[in-house]
């Protein structure tokens, strides 16, 4: 107990120090973890209504934010890791701000966004009661050498989950995990309604194992299916249309099919977690109020014109982003870095089709791999006006050349962090660490 208190004090001090420096969010967690390796399990020991892990390649941050909003909308106290630092240490870091000195978190529920590898590490320290598994796509291949391997990590996570698992019915890497959960653990599914099933290939990884005998599950009365009525409005249906429960119609602040699927996943999980307490009207109100997480279509007002920041990190995600945003003509910049957090191999840019940018062209490519991005665009016959690897110089030139027009920047993770830092110094935008509350 003393040891934990020491860990909390040490971690809080490190957190305060790193906040002053505006530094990385994982450092205080590292300090606390060093002092007390059992820190996580201790801190979460008194969270009575469940420890929920959200994992998968794309949409973790958005889905987590939506799920937390719906749960809080039902009056629950929810602890979450809002900074997008989805590693174990990041979880501890965000926890430190809310911990009393005894080191036990006071919350009804914990909802944690964790990447595939760290979700398993976390589960080794604390067994999750629930897991919400979104999808498997090629991402940061340095870390997860193969899609099959990533799918295995998520299956292991599901195996260690004690109460309930929510799976993507349309992603066969995920839906086949149903065979891996322990006896007595409930399985629910989320997915899309048959009316839009033809749009799945644009957002989903191809499963190459098409000749095995896997029979996809059939959705039941507790499984949520997305039924859009147009590009922005949708319902989540449970059970046969008309007979069962539905959430919506509603409109999200974040655009696109991917966000609607995230909302469907969050709604299905919330319904499982809340049971009879679940109230469709409360869920709708909460989902309507959720703002896009930073870098997921976040809008910065620059001299009266919107500048959208769109995070891209893998072929499926970039393709979705182009499908969501590419159709409205705006001035476009693309910034590609190749640091560890971006994915060091830029080969994936050749698995994305940039044809939707052909008509408008791209105003600027930037980042360490600015020339590789421009070269990629050449091969899709997309014109590029300027190439400037230095992000700040590129941003200045881009803003100057497109003054008074709506603008959009597609960027990898570290490129976005740099651009955001520059923009934050000049314009009004929320601090990344603060934005989720």
């Amino acid at each position: 107990m003393l040891r934990t208190t020491a860990a909390v004090v040490a971690g809080k001090a490190a957190r305060a120090a790193s906040r002053l420096r505006g530094g990385g969010s994982a450092l205080p967690g590292l300090v606390a973890e060093k002092v007390d390796p059992g820190f996580l399990s201790h801190a979460l020991a008194d969270v009575p209504r469940g420890i929920v892990v959200v994992s998968g390649t794309n949409g973790k941050t958005t889905t987590t934010k939506m799920l937390v909003a719906v749960l809080r909308g039902h009056g629950l106290g929810v602890f979450t890791n809002p900074t997008g630092s989805n590693f174990t240490r990041g979880v501890i870091s965000s926890m430190l701000g809310e911990l009393p000195m005894g080191g036990r978190l006071k919350a009804d529920m914990a909802v944690l966004e964790l990447d595939e590898a760290h979700a398993l590490k976390f589960a080794a320290a604390v067994r999750p009661t629930h897991a919400l598994l979104l999808n498997v796509a090629r991402d940061q291949l340095d870390r997860f050498a193969e899609i099959d391997h990533t799918a295995q990590l998520l299956a292991s996570l599901a195996e260690q989950t004690t109460t309930g698992v929510v799976l993507n019915i349309d992603d066969s890497f995920i839906s086949r995990i149903r065979d891996r959960v322990a006896d007595g653990v409930a399985v629910r599914y989320f997915g899309v309604d048959a009316s839009i099933a033809d749009r799945l290939p644009e957002i989903q990884e191809q499963d190459v194992r098409f000749d095995d005998d896997f029979v996809p599950p059939k959705p039941g009365a507790d499984d949520g299916l997305l039924k859009p009525s147009d590009e922005r409005t949708f319902e989540v249906l449970f059970g046969e249309p008309g007979s069962g429960q539905h959430v919506g119609p509603l409109e999200l602040q974040q655009r696109g099919l991917a966000a609607m699927i995230n909302a469907t996943a969050a709604t299905t999980a919330a319904r499982m977690l809340l049971g009879d307490e679940f109230d469709a009207a409360r869920a709708e109100a909460a989902l309507r109020a959720v703002t896009p997480p930073f870098g997921r279509g976040e809008v910065v007002m620059v001299d009266g014109q919107p500048l959208e920041l769109v995070l891209v990190k893998n072929p499926a995600g970039f393709t979705v982003a182009l499908g969501t945003y590419g159709s409205t003509p705006v001035s476009t910049m693309i910034a590609i870095n190749d640091n560890y957090a971006d994915g060091r191999d830029v080969s994936w840019l050749y698995d994305v089709s940039f044809e939707s940018l052909r008509e408008q062209g791209v105003a600027m490519t930037s980042g360490v791999r600015a020339y590789d991005m421009a070269l990629r665009l050449q091969y899709d016959d997309v014109s590029v006006d300027a190439i400037e690897p230095d992000l700040e110089e590129a941003l200045d030139a881009f803003l100057a050349a497109h003054h008074g027009q709506p603008m959009r920047i597609f960027c990898t993770y570290t490129a976005m962090m740099s651009l955001r830092r520059v923009l934050a110094a000049r314009y009004d935008l929320p601090d990344i660490g603060e934005e989720a509350s």
Partner: protein, 269 residues
């Protein structure tokens, strides 16, 4: 699979126009038709290797020829007159799916290789073009034997950016492989490693070249940023296809050259 119509199994190659698998009429063939075959694009082109096919097809057009892009899938009829072959890397599950077909078309591939048909085989397909792959457990899986190389399965992966010196000049790319490859006694490498691991991380060789077959671990994909290699393959293919020497059109490769030079400058100390 084999009874499905071809368009149902073909994968989308980003950027390639529809109908690029169709043979153009004589008046639209330009300097000649070049049959470009991508082996197992569905199973064996993880990490952007489809970009090599896109790059070759685009540059064939820019040089005034007409590419016909054939996708060869397991169990399908092998294209009659291939002039240029490419293959990429895959996951283990993808590799398993192509092995039987590769054995089936093996004689044809060996005959084409001996006849001088240019081929570019990356990562997993490079390994399969070798003599054998020895798994971590010691099991020997025979390859096509077109390249005199042997690959030993490894627990550790060799991952990272690469710079090579090759007969096509400096070549940049990105390697991601767990196999460690050794060249046979008379086997020439594709390049010498200046940054990165290469075949095995110890002898500074990367890839292999036999006749006009190039094997390499480099993704990136390798061709867009290294247009000299792309054009060398196209030149050989054009000669095969037309019986005349290659008639190139001069290309503006300034962006590719910048992309490559910047990687060289970053990585070679």
């Amino acid at each position: 699979m084999s009874n499905l119509p071809l368009q149902d199994v073909d994968v989308h190659i980003p950027g390639e126009p529809e109908g690029s698998a169709r043979v153009p009429s004589a008046d639209r063939a330009g300097k000649g038709v070049i049959n470009l075959v991508h082996l197992y694009p569905r199973e064996m082109s993880i990490y952007g290797d489809l970009g090599n096919t896109r790059c070759l097809a685009a540059r064939i057009r820019r040089h005034g020829y007409s590419p016909v892009v054939h996708q060869h899938h397991p169990g399908a009829q092998f294209p009659a007159e291939p002039h240029l072959l490419v293959g990429g890397g895959g996951q283990d599950s993808g590799q398993v799916r192509v092995e039987a077909d590769l054995e089936h078309i093996g004689d044809r591939l060996r005959e084409l290789a001996e006849g001088g048909t240019p081929m570019l085989m990356i990562c997993g397909m490079y390994q399969l073009f070798g003599n054998a792959f020895i798994t971590v457990e010691g099991q020997r899986l025979p390859g096509l034997g077109i390249l005199d190389v042997t690959t030993q399965g490894n627990a550790k992966r060799m991952i990272g950016p690469v710079v090579l010196d090759t007969e096509f000049g400096e070549v940049v790319g990105y390697e991601n492989h767990s196999g460690s490859t050794t060249l046979g006694a008379g086997q020439a490498p594709f390049g010498t490693v200046r940054a990165g691991f290469g075949n095995n991380g110890s002898d500074r060789t990367e890839g292999a070249r036999m006749n006009n077959v190039v094997g390499s671990y480099l993704h990136g994909p390798i061709l867009p940023a290294n247009p000299a290699l792309a054009d060398a393959l196209i030149a050989l293919a054009a000669e095969k296809a037309t019986g005349r020497p290659f008639e190139p059109v001069s290309q503006d490769d300034a962006v590719a050259d910048q992309a490559r030079m910047r990687q060289v400058r970053r990585l070679v100390k």
